[in-house]
């Protein structure tokens, strides 16, 4: 059979003839024309960073709470203490003052006199701190002179604050949920609409359909990560001590393995309710155990091996090591191994189980 060669001018461009490009474009357009999806992918992580970053940064210092027992000299002691920075002092009757100490309303009770008496709990750090502060203020009021005035440097170093712990966790969480929802959910929607079956009835290569998802996930990283990371660096001074390339490589591998998990949860489910349930089953343990909001070291030693095997733990730990400690990719062997193994296993199973109609 011979066909006349198509007229060169009528021949569409390479991008128009490439199924990969057209499949990825179709996904991309469906995504950005869905405002809700855009918000959950890009807006929500930023809102979460703002809310949590501010909540934990603005935490005020607890004042030292003290009670002075009413009687002669009580007013002078109160005035001396009230002049101190961060001291909350009140005058109470003897019985009342003891009760306040017992229930923890105050950390120390001062009995005025010469010399004054301190009633406090030496086993309680708050109480010990209160004793030192109160003693200093009363001694100064009684005329003690400081031997020297030390140079003071206030420090709240980037890399050690809560927000610095949080941002890599949110990045990891974002990579996870975009992978599972952006691949798993969308595939099942195609299947439910019978669009998958319709496309399988064309000469489209099945691998290209799947590859388009993965390629697009990688492309999305290039938008998702700079937005969230740039925001955190600008507003919270989040550090990036390691190399950008190492960070990109780790995020790329993370996105690959979560896209694989997305493919796996979407490989057989026939309707979107079912895949939503599967996505929850995969994601919730990682939300809880993988150290997004607080360190996974807080869990029992007995379940640590399980926690270490979760891909989100590997991704979060790796991101924190690169961003906060300046670690090199080569030092993250176990994290890379976990992510690589999850990716390989997920793709192998997904391709085997995939239901095309």
């Amino acid at each position: 059979m011979t066909d006349p060669a198509p007229h060169p001018a009528a021949r569409p461009g390479l991008a128009e003839r490439s199924p990969m490009v057209q499949l990825a474009l179709a996904r991309l357009r469906s995504f950005y024309r869905e405002p809700e999806a855009v918000f959950w992918t890009f807006g929500f992580p930023i809102l979460l960073t703002i809310a949590l970053g501010i909540a934990f940064r603005a935490k005020p210092l607890d004042p030292v709470r003290a009670a002075v027992v009413a009687g002669p000299g009580a007013e002078a002691a109160r005035a001396a203490l009230a002049a101190g920075e961060g001291v909350d002092v009140r005058v109470l009757g003897a019985e009342e003052a003891r009760r306040a100490l017992r229930v923890g309303q105050v950390a120390i009770v001062i009995e005025p006199g010469a010399p004054p008496g301190y009633r406090f709990d030496p086993t309680n750090p708050d109480s010990r701190l209160a004793r030192a502060v109160v003693d200093g203020l009363l001694q100064a009021a009684a005329g003690r002179r400081d031997a020297f005035a030390a140079r003071l440097e206030r420090s709240s170093e980037p890399g050690a604050r809560y927000v610095d712990f949080l941002v890599p966790g949110l990045l990891g969480m974002n990579v996870m949920s975009s992978g599972l929802w952006g691949v798993g959910w969308v595939i099942v929607e195609d299947r439910q609409k019978k669009l998958l079956k319709r496309m399988v009835a064309t000469p489209m290569r099945r691998g290209e359909y799947l590859l388009a998802f993965v390629a697009l996930r990688m492309l999305f990283l290039l938008v998702e990560v700079p937005i969230l990371l740039g925001f955190a660096m600008l507003f919270f001074g989040t550090p990036l001590r390691g190399s950008v390339l190492d960070l990109a490589a780790l995020l790329g591998l993370g996105a690959l393995s979560f896209a694989g998990l997305g493919l796996l949860v979407g490989s057989r489910a026939r309707n979107s309710q079912r895949v939503a349930g599967l996505i929850d089953i995969v994601m919730i343990p990682m939300f809880v155990f993988s150290g997004v909001f607080f360190s996974s070291e807080n869990f029992l030693a007995a379940i640590q091996p399980f926690i270490r095997a979760l891909p989100l733990t590997a991704l979060n730990d790796g991101l924190r090591a690169i961003m906060n400690e300046g670690a090199r990719l080569a030092a993250l062997g176990s994290e890379l191994l976990v992510l690589g193994a999850v990716a390989a296993g997920a793709y192998a199973l997904a391709l085997r189980w995939f239901r095309w109609s």
Binding site: Q22, K193, K194, R198, A201, P203, S357
Partner: protein, 308 residues
């Protein structure tokens, strides 16, 4: 090169535990033919067409399309087919032109997007999103997706169910255009007028089997006669054998509360019937006649109506 577009033998599809959707179906469709599979819902039409399309594996039987089997080179075969499924929802947020470009990219050769838009009359909607199209326009777009490959063999599964008359006309035009190029069409429908108008030959399918095969005209003449008379009487006092014995009556059968007669010539059969009833004093409460159609063929063969 085989001159058959479709050949299948002994097709069986069993869904465990006990559904037999297709029960030993044979079919031969010549190249250039428009062939209709007719039958009620659940007759096995869709399962049959999806087996032919290589989307559902048969439990048993052989399929050959354009002289090839599905096991030979499936992608090369797919490139020569055009398919509409009974229900497909295309991507809601994409425009008509974007969807067509997507489907066009799957084929190495075929029509341009502009050509298929013109074929189904959707030029004005090329920039409209799928979600904003009417039901008929969506169906026409699904058809356009099947036409981008300029298929040698076009499968249409209930292409006009629930369509407005304008969209129906457009789809009919597409079938006529495909045939004009010498290409083959296999369609399923339960609209008998559609089948009579479009199809060279039809197979009537019931319970997974072909129960009648031929040109629409042949089938009607052979099975249903040329005219149908339906009547009801006040009292249930009509005798079937007596009806059959009347001149010009080819067949008689109960139909609900009344009777259906197949008649070769109305001017002989109707006076005979009226004379018969009058002579026995049976009052007539309803009488209707119409030209026999494929619908009557189905009723005659199965005792059921198509859209029950």
């Amino acid at each position: 090169m085989s001159d058959l577009a479709i050949r299948c033998r002994g097709l069986v599809k069993r869904y465990p535990p006990d559904v037999l959707a297709v029960d030993g179906l044979d079919l031969e469709v010549a190249r250039g033919e428009c062939f209709g599979l007719l039958g009620p819902n659940g007759a096995g039409k869709t399962t049959t067409i999806e087996i032919l399309e290589g989307l559902v594996p048969p439990t048993a039987g052989e399929v050959e399309l354009l002289g090839r089997r599905w096991t030979d080179a499936p992608r090369a075969l797919r490139a020569r087919l055009g398919i509409t499924l009974q229900e497909t929802r295309l991507p809601e947020r994409l425009t008509v032109a974007e969807i067509l470009r997507l489907f066009r990219s799957f084929y190495r050769r075929g029509r341009t997007v502009a050509e298929v838009l013109a074929l189904v009359g959707l030029e004005e909607k090329r920039s409209a999103r799928y979600e904003r199209l009417s039901g008929g326009q969506k169906q026409r777009l699904a058809m356009a997706c099947a036409l981008v490959s300029e298929p040698e063999l076009l499968f249409l599964d209930e292409p006009t169910t629930g369509l407005d008359p304008q969209s129906r006309r457009h789809l009919w035009d597409v079938v006529v255009e495909t045939r004009r190029r010498g290409h083959t069409v296999l369609l399923t429908t339960h609209y008998m007028d559609e089948a009579e108008r479009l199809c060279d030959r039809v197979a009537i399918v019931d319970r997974g089997k072909v129960i009648a095969l031929g040109t629409p005209r042949e089938l009607v003449a052979r099975v249903a006669g040329t005219e149908v008379v339906e009547f009801e009487t006040a009292a249930d006092a009509v005798d079937e054998a007596a009806l059959r014995a009347l001149p010009g009556i080819a067949a008689a059968a109960r139909d609900g509360a009344g009777w259906r007669l197949t008649v070769a010539e109305l001017h002989v059969g109707v006076p005979a019937l009226l004379g018969h009833l009058q002579a026995r004093g049976i009052p007539l409460t309803a009488l209707a006649t119409h030209r026999a159609s494929l619908e009557d063929v189905f009723v005659t063969l199965t005792g059921r109506r198509l859209n029950d």
